[in-house]
């Protein structure tokens, strides 16, 4: 058993930013454990641009954004265990990991969970038909194309309009594939509007809403799919079925936070976010265990992942310095039109402003968000539009937060 002050599980954008923040807050014995051969996480395969506008003020590609943080990690001399997979975490903060040297057991004083998320697979969708080769989750295809340099198909249908799917529609087009259709089962897209414009419209790729892949055909390699419009029950409508020949089906049907270790440690999970329940420092229900990034809630912008990770890194440092006292906590609640609010609890005694992150339940035009506790309005925010695919952030000033008690509700009204 070895000892470290802070153990960060995962060296993607969340883990890197958390490590830097914790180190800069004075906890030098901070280490990162990552299962890949270098840090950077999934950003290394996201070779497209669009990262960093909020956080760094310039537009970078995924690998460049990752490099900015990786350099800072190495400049500080933060220890990184690569090709090291954490297999167990206890509530007492004993981290068990495996690498080529053997089994590593670390007693941590604080732990930051930054394991990221995984893609929902075909299995979870119960798509009818056969099980040939040529069906990939969009991220797997992205890795094969961008990191390994292999083409995965020539005629493509994409199920789900999540951002990775949209990005891959363009990427496959770049490499000479014909993308026949993007099908989205919901009446609206799950991806960012800009990606629909620059990844689909630029290349005349049709996006079919309220449409799904009903059947998969082909024994060895995919030969085609049957797509169909869906009814209000989201089941295929027989008369609308249509066959599209294709050799590749990419799935971009949602991301699931990878909280296996979180569960192992006995940390309670929010059934809506699928991530841990946290307070404004991103501390979970177990004192000293923090969570940030896509393992906590699936983000659409890496910039916000970095922000959230800094909160967790600073929180873990404050915990070790004994600065996280028990404070008057109030819980946050999703009101009308809001699917969830994070963090799930905040301290009314916070001396800093607190940002609430949330997603709306449906697409809306112009809306006003109102943050209330009892009769007290703590904050309002107007947005020209609000869609489920884009996370919203609302700040509550510290002095307003002091007025909160019991429960804080965020709701929206359509303007």
């Amino acid at each position: 058993m070895i000892n470290h002050d802070i153990v960060i599980i995962g060296g993607g954008p969340a883990g890197m930013a958390a490590a830097i923040a914790a180190y800069d807050a004075g906890i030098k014995d901070t280490v990162i454990l990552d299962r890949e051969d270098s840090i950077g996480g999934i950003l290394r395969q996201c070779i497209h641009n669009g990262f960093g506008l909020h956080k760094l003020g310039r537009e970078l590609t995924g690998p460049e954004y990752a490099d900015v943080f990786a350099k800072q990690v190495y400049e500080r001399g933060i220890k990184v265990y690569t090709e090291t997979m954490v297999t167990d975490l206890t509530a007492d903060k004993v981290v068990t990991a495996t690498n080529r040297e053997g089994i590593l057991k670390i007693q941590a004083k604080a732990v930051i969970l930054a394991m990221g998320c995984r893609e929902r697979s075909r299995g979870a969708l119960n798509i009818c038909g056969s099980r040939p080769a040529g069906i990939f989750s969009a991220g797997t295809a992205q890795k094969l194309v961008n990191c390994e340099g292999y083409a995965v198909g020539k005629r493509v249908v994409i199920l789900g309009s999540g951002d990775i799917g949209l990005i891959m529609a363009r990427r496959m087009s770049f490499e000479g594939a014909k993308v026949e259709a993007v099908c989205e089962i919901m009446p609206y897209s799950g991806g960012l509007t800009r990606n629909i414009v620059q990844c689909l419209e630029d290349y005349n790729i049709p996006l079919y809403l309220s449409t799904t892949v009903a059947e998969i055909h082909g024994k060895q390699r995919l030969e085609g799919v049957t797509i169909a419009q869906v009814g209000p029950d989201r089941r295929p409508i027989e008369e609308t079925k249509r066959y599209i020949p294709c050799d590749t089906l990419l799935l971009s049907v949602g991301l699931i936070p990878e909280n296996e270790l979180t569960r192992t440690a006995g940390i309670p999970i929010d059934p809506v976010t699928n991530g841990a329940l946290v307070d404004e420092n991103r501390q979970t229900a177990i004192p000293g265990i923090f969570a940030c990034g896509n393992v906590l809630q699936v983000h659409d912008l890496v910039d916000y992942v970095s922000d959230e990770a800094e909160i967790a890194g600073n929180g873990a440092a404050a915990y070790l310095k004994g600065e996280l006292d028990k404070k008057a906590t109030v819980s946050t609640k999703a009101g009308y039109g809001v699917r969830y609010v994070l963090p799930q609890t905040v301290s009314a005694l916070s001396d800093k402003p607190v940002s609430l992150f949330l997603r709306v339940a449906n697409p809306y035009g112009k809306v006003r968000f109102t943050v209330k506790s009892g009769d007290q309005v703590l904050a309002t925010a107007v947005r020209l539009k609000a869609v489920p695919g884009e996370m919203e952030k609302i700040n509550i000033p510290a002095e307003k937060l002091a007025l909160a008690s019991g429960e804080i509700t965020v709701s929206l009204e359509e303007l």
Partner: protein
């Protein structure tokens, strides 16, 4: 002529309206100056940044990611891709290394380090 556009500069995705009168473009709906410029460019000379990969010949199964240093004309995307596809590079590669010179007025540079 009026064109409805969605701004792609940042993830906010503002809905823009561009009124085109000869050489003059009047933009509404933007929330920042970059958005206004985007709409003007999109109506006069639409441009895009192209990102792709280049094979590293002296490393096994290794690709280096790359991008055009500046946006290139939208109708030249596939020409740029053809140039990138015919390019290879030898490691080591640093971020910012030029992989293709003079591509429609800009350069293709590496976005990943290969040791």
């Amino acid at each position: 002529m009026t064109r409805n556009l969605t701004c792609i500069i940042c993830p906010r995705g503002c809905s823009l309206v561009a009124e085109i009168n000869g050489n003059e473009v009047k933009v509404t709906g933007h929330t920042c100056p970059k958005g206004e410029q985007y709409a003007i460019d999109e109506c006069t000379n639409p441009v895009r940044t192209v990102t792709s990969i280049v094979r590293v010949t002296n490393r096994e199964d290794t690709m280096v990611s790359c991008k055009t240093e500046n946006p290139i004309p939208k109708d030249k995307i596939f020409d740029v891709m053809a140039i990138i596809r015919s390019t290879t590079v030898e490691a080591p590669v640093s971020i910012g290394d030029v992989l293709c010179d003079d591509v429609f007025g800009t350069r293709v540079i590496a976005t990943k380090e290969i040791k």
